[in-house]
Symmetry: C2
Subunit: 184 residues, 2 copies
């Protein structure tokens, strides 16, 4: 690969990280191209497709955020705090990071890196749900699918309702969490 081409590939990756970070994975590629100082054609030439570019950056873009949640929550004690903090942090991540939200919403169901990241988050969540239900602190009629739905729904909301403040958003999360607990 020629020197200028290598330079461009790296530039595009960086630009994609920047642009996707703030705008999510569905940002038009023209914006990435502009940010990288190349033409859209170059991106397609180098990465094959929109999905190709996303596959090339999504790990760097999102993995750390998900891993941080898993590690932080896994350090907590008590099945209820663990379960609730997992959900709370995931939901806040969705609010804060459009790209992470896109991963959790399975915006590209056919992308393997996206699926891997999504599964990592979900798998951990399922474990916590099971833990919490076994301990009797979370309703028994909540299924693993319900958990995925709760996250997916939050993603849809975050995308569509961008006017609500983070504080209000956060406050309302507690209403949902309350509804998942068992009460006597």
């Amino acid at each position: 690969m020629r020197a200028d081409a290598r330079r461009n590939v790296e530039g595009i990756r960086q630009a994609a990280l920047d642009v996707f970070r703030t705008g999510g994975l569905t940002t038009p590629l023209d914006e990435v191209a502009r940010a990288a100082g190349v033409s859209k054609g170059t991106i397609y030439h180098r990465f094959g497709s929109r999905t190709g570019l996303i596959d090339a950056v999504v790990e760097d873009l999102v993995a750390a955020r998900i891993d941080t949640i898993i590690e932080t929550v896994d350090a907590l004690d008590g099945p209820l705090p663990r379960f609730e903090e997992y959900l709370r942090r995931t939901w806040l991540l969705q609010f804060d990071e459009p790209a992470a939200n896109d991963v959790l919403m399975r915006v590209l169901p056919d992308s393997e890196p996206l699926t891997t990241l999504f599964e990592r988050a979900c798998h951990f969540g399922r474990r916590l749900l099971h833990e919490a239900q076994s301990a009797g602190v979370v309703r028994d009629d909540i299924t693993p699918d319900d958990l995925v739905t709760l996250i997916l729904e939050r993603g849809v909301i975050v995308r569509a309702c961008d006017q609500q403040t983070r504080d209000d958003y956060r406050r309302r999360l507690d209403f949902i969490l309350r509804g998942l607990r068992t009460h006597r």
Copy 2:
């Protein structure tokens, strides 16, 4: 107004009722035109704009559904059942009727008929919330704005997640309702 024009206006109204009923208020006007057997231009000529057409049919399309909820719920006893049944029925209406959902989501904030319908539903909801909070059966930290948000959010979800079954959707509504109650 010429006879054929009058015929067309009525045909367009009927077609709009049909098409909007199943597809919501954001259905492309070409579809309404096709259903009415006229061209798109005729609709614009007769109703001025997309909004003009919607204003002309939305009352017939949605008012009855909202009124039914209000009447049915108002016949119930007990602040908690009243409040919860209001929300449950509103949420189910959003699932069942895309057009009603568009009204409740304020898809056209500048349309006066839409605003009127929306306000009718919300006003009643606020009353029930107040009732329920005064009776101590619903959390005090829920604001009227939260109520609107709960409905708006459900609307966003219904629009985006069209694959979930009605039964699952309904079952999950109860999780939310549980979270709004006071427990002990």
